[in-house]
Amino acid sequence: MLNPAVSSFGEILLYLIGGIVFVAGALLTAWIIRPSRPNVEKLATYESGEEPVGSAWGQFNVRFYIVALVFILFDVELVFLFPWATVFGKKALIDATDGMWGWFAFVEMTIFVAILGLGLAWAWAKGLLDWVKPEPVVKQQGSPVPPGLYEQINRTVAAAARAEQRKQKE
């Protein structure tokens, strides 16, 4: 229980302080326990795995949007679940309604989650969650030279190079 002397704005201030402490603590812990071996890649600005410099009009893979949508769906569900959980178990409300309150809250949330679950099942069954890598297309040149010939040339060239190296060592 919070001290009743804390006003509503005081609570917001507590949230702010808590947030800052949480983030700062995480950064500090990481700074203490990590080894320090910087390289160019690590020092680049992080931008969700994308190239941080350049035009913002690049094309994204459309699957990003589907995954983002499914993520937001369940993110919002969670946001609803938190306030629900705080009123669901209130003993005073349950007692005052002979337990009807609990059943109402439970059934409503079950329906809500079941509908979202059906949505996820739909997206899954339709294959929207499969992250298929695009197949690289091998170009067929239609050359009359058989592939074996190239390999033969490569072998001869490599053998000649090795002979050259051996000579130089000697």
Binding site: A92, L93, A96, T97, D98, F104, L118, W122
Partner: protein, 508 residues
Amino acid sequence: METQAPTIAPLKASLQAILQDLPLLYPELTLGLGVLLVLLGALLIPRSWRNEGLAVLSLLVIAASAYMLLYKGLPAEPVHLLARTLQLDKMAVAFRLLVLLSGLLAVLLSFREGKKLAGEYYALLLGLLMAAMLMSMASNLLLIYLSIETASICAYLLTAFSGGREGAEAGLKYLLFGAVASAIMLYGMSLLYGFTGTLDITAYGFKSGLMSLNIPILPVLLAAFLVLAGFLFKISVVPFHLWTPDAYQGAPLPAAALFSTAPKLAGLALMMRFLSHFLEAGIIFAGLRFDWQFILGLLAIITMLVGNLAAVWQQDARRLLAYSSIAHSGLLLAAVLVFRALGYKALLFYGFVYILMNFAAFLLVSMLKAETGSYKIADYRGLGSRLSYSSVLMVVVMIALTGLPPTAGFTAKLLVFSALWEGYSSGGSSMLLYLLLTGLATTVVALFYYLKIPYYLYLKKQPEAVVQVEGSTVLERILAGALALLLVLFFFRADWVMNWIEAFTISQ
């Protein structure tokens, strides 16, 4: 904890009230369950008969919903449901039945188009129906917004469903217009809430808050108009009609037919409900009398003129039907503005007949598309001799849409016109007379463009090269024949429909 003590006591009662209200909402709950079932079915049914299976499943869901509505969901007297967010009266029941009827016809029309579409199509169709049914009951600003938005989102997706470039363009236009319209509506609602401190438009506080002398009239009118803009967008009244032709052209044909009926009728019901509560407040406040009939009547007149005159220039059958649907919106809005039982009866009759003739028209356009491979009216040249069955039906339906005897279209227009005249001659505003005159004048214009299709079918010569793509199916032929037959039947037996409507006369 201490502060919550007073609210706990009525909590049990309100939970029990919600449980008691649920049976009256079984029709909507059935549709909602149907959405999930259709999605499951789309995953489980093998591809070879998936389209047929899902269509039959949707038909069953709609039939079950209608059964629930007729045998379980009729309250003895008007009731408020779910903590006063819904108002269930006879008007709501009538409009919900009309919505279900249009949904039934839309699924029947979808057998052909559905083959090209994925399983979500039927789920979205049912979702749209559920939202439209809630729209016709909503009496709380929050639920009004939610139901309109659900219907709109289903409609945006259905518009873009055909997948092609045309569909994507139409869907995007519809989405942008719709988003702006709902933002405007939401702003108006927030103002109304600020003035009254309640979201419940049936509450006493809503009325008294608007009538209080502390609020100047201008902001209240502004807020009301902002909210009405959202409704007018759904009904596609000028100047909120710009999305209509593109959406109808880009959407799958059955979905377009549904857009022109279910959300439109539900929007009209919503508008009637909103105005009936707002009107009493609007008339008295600040000692000023504000004439809603005048402003909305003006919009209805402009809608009739724009819809009919723009339809004359259309070359594409779908765009022609879109502008015709805008023109019909004007007339339906005029029937709302009579604000009397007579106008309400005329509105219901017109709505019923409009569903029949509009679905028949869209079905025939889709049959002719199957037979000629084109939506262009110019490509219907000389088909009258080759495709005599579809052509004869097309003539009947076009006559009905114009509003000429011997079809129910004539009876419907006659009822609206006589309601307008009755309203005017019994001391109503002269706007009703102007509405009547515009309605008569635009019927002459309508004659010109609707009869263009029979003109091309019968009086133009057929070009030499004829491409037969694929024939129409037996089901389509039977359905089109039945709809046309009903249109003629209800001209001679209009009293059958009237008896049904009498049962749903307003009783508030």
